[in-house]
């Protein structure tokens, strides 16, 4: 069975604060008072794997990444 050990990471230089990620994955991403994402640093739980990949694909700035820890 596929096991995900990846965690979400934002490239803060590329991120322009669109906020799409927080809309798609509120379980792991929230927006700070300036509209920039704060990301849960822990590995993405398997039940959220699909949503996490969707959020990564939807980032207009290509700033959200899934990275092997």
């Amino acid at each position: 069975m596929p096991e995900t050990l990846d965690s979400l990471k934002v490239n803060p230089i590329d991120c322009t604060g669109h906020g799409v990620c927080a809309e798609l994955l509120p379980e792991l991403i929230w927006l700070d008072e300036w509209g920039y994402p704060v990301v849960d640093p822990r590995p993405v739980p398997p039940q959220l794997d699909r949503e996490a990949r969707r959020a990564v694909a939807a980032c207009p700035a290509l700033a959200l990444k899934l990275m092997r820890r």
């Binding site: 803060p12 991120c15 322009t16």
Partner: protein, 425 residues
Amino acid sequence: MTTTVNEPAARQAAALPRLLPAAPEDLRRHLARYGPMPYRGQAGLLIGDIETSGLAGRGGAAFPVYRKLAIVARARGRKVVVANGAESEPASRKDELLLRAAPNLVLDGLQLAAEATGATEAHLYTHYGPTPQLLRALAERAAAGLDMVDVTITQAPPRFLAGQESALVNHLGGGPALPTFQPPRVTERGLRGAPTLVQNVETLAHIALIARYGPRWFRAAGTSAEPGSMLTTVYSPDGKCRVIETEIGAPLNTLLSSGPETRAWLVGGYHGAWLPLPKAAALTLDNGTLKKYGAAAGAGVLAALPSDRCGLTETARIVSYLAAESAGQCGPCLNGLPRIAAGLAELAGPRPRRQVRADVERWAGLVEGRGACHHPDGTVRFVRSALTVFAPELSRHEKGQCSATNRRPFLPLPDGIPTSEDDWI
């Protein structure tokens, strides 16, 4: 392979200062003092000695030097070494003095690092660029056939982050001196894609001595966890500034006064931390000890704030500089630092609004760990230490009082805070 140690020279160099001669030395006197260039004849051979020596980077981050050397040595293809003397920390003067007093020690270390890693390109990146003195040192070395790799000197832009590794690599590559997101680290992919070793100039000077006298000699100074000596820039309460080479682990009160003329200590520069007196008076200058106080030795900037100054006013002034020095690339830093600076300016004045302190603390939490570089983290460390150490002063300000009797700025800042984007180039 065993290293032949030049015994008389080693004995002479064992006492402090190790790095700083009394007056600047030309190549002939440099070689007479320290002995010939200790090339090892093959890439990689020096790295074991550096590992045994326990040398950590002297640019501020105290990263184990052998690890960066080993990563670049392992890589294939074109490789680059860079001596980093940007010294963009405004209060630090030690790299400038070292390059003036002992340029050949730094250049020895740069060549030895090139040999150890197999690099074929070498750079010296400094605040002042190619001074006549550095050019003369390079010319003397060329005439003596001492260097295996040509050295290019580049001037760093006068910005706080210009010495940050990835900013440095960008600048040498012809771009603005702005940090980039890592990974990849510059040791994996640096200048024009080549694995790049960036070491502070003082670190390279230590390498030049370890290569000559061996790791045991190096470890005779310092603590067992943090061996060796380090250069510090020390500000006494009368405003005088001296560069002092000291053993790591030296009692701070041998460098800084702790008497009634001193209000607090700043350790580690503007990304460092304030320490309370008299509570901190017995601490020693090593990260193992300072860590418990949320502080670190950093690049060795130490200051004794005189008791006639207000610590909040000093902090607010420095933080407004740090906010202006944000590269402005990362949202949290771009938005958070100016707000933190404005909050501190209010706290430094009479009767700040009640919620300001909580605002500053919340913003500090919001910027920490969220930049591509450590600028927000270092700034937050400095700010938090001020809110703790100067808490009694904060209460006075809330009542409209301030204990300062002298309003003149104490900690140094560059003349004219940069305002133009062009300054990055």
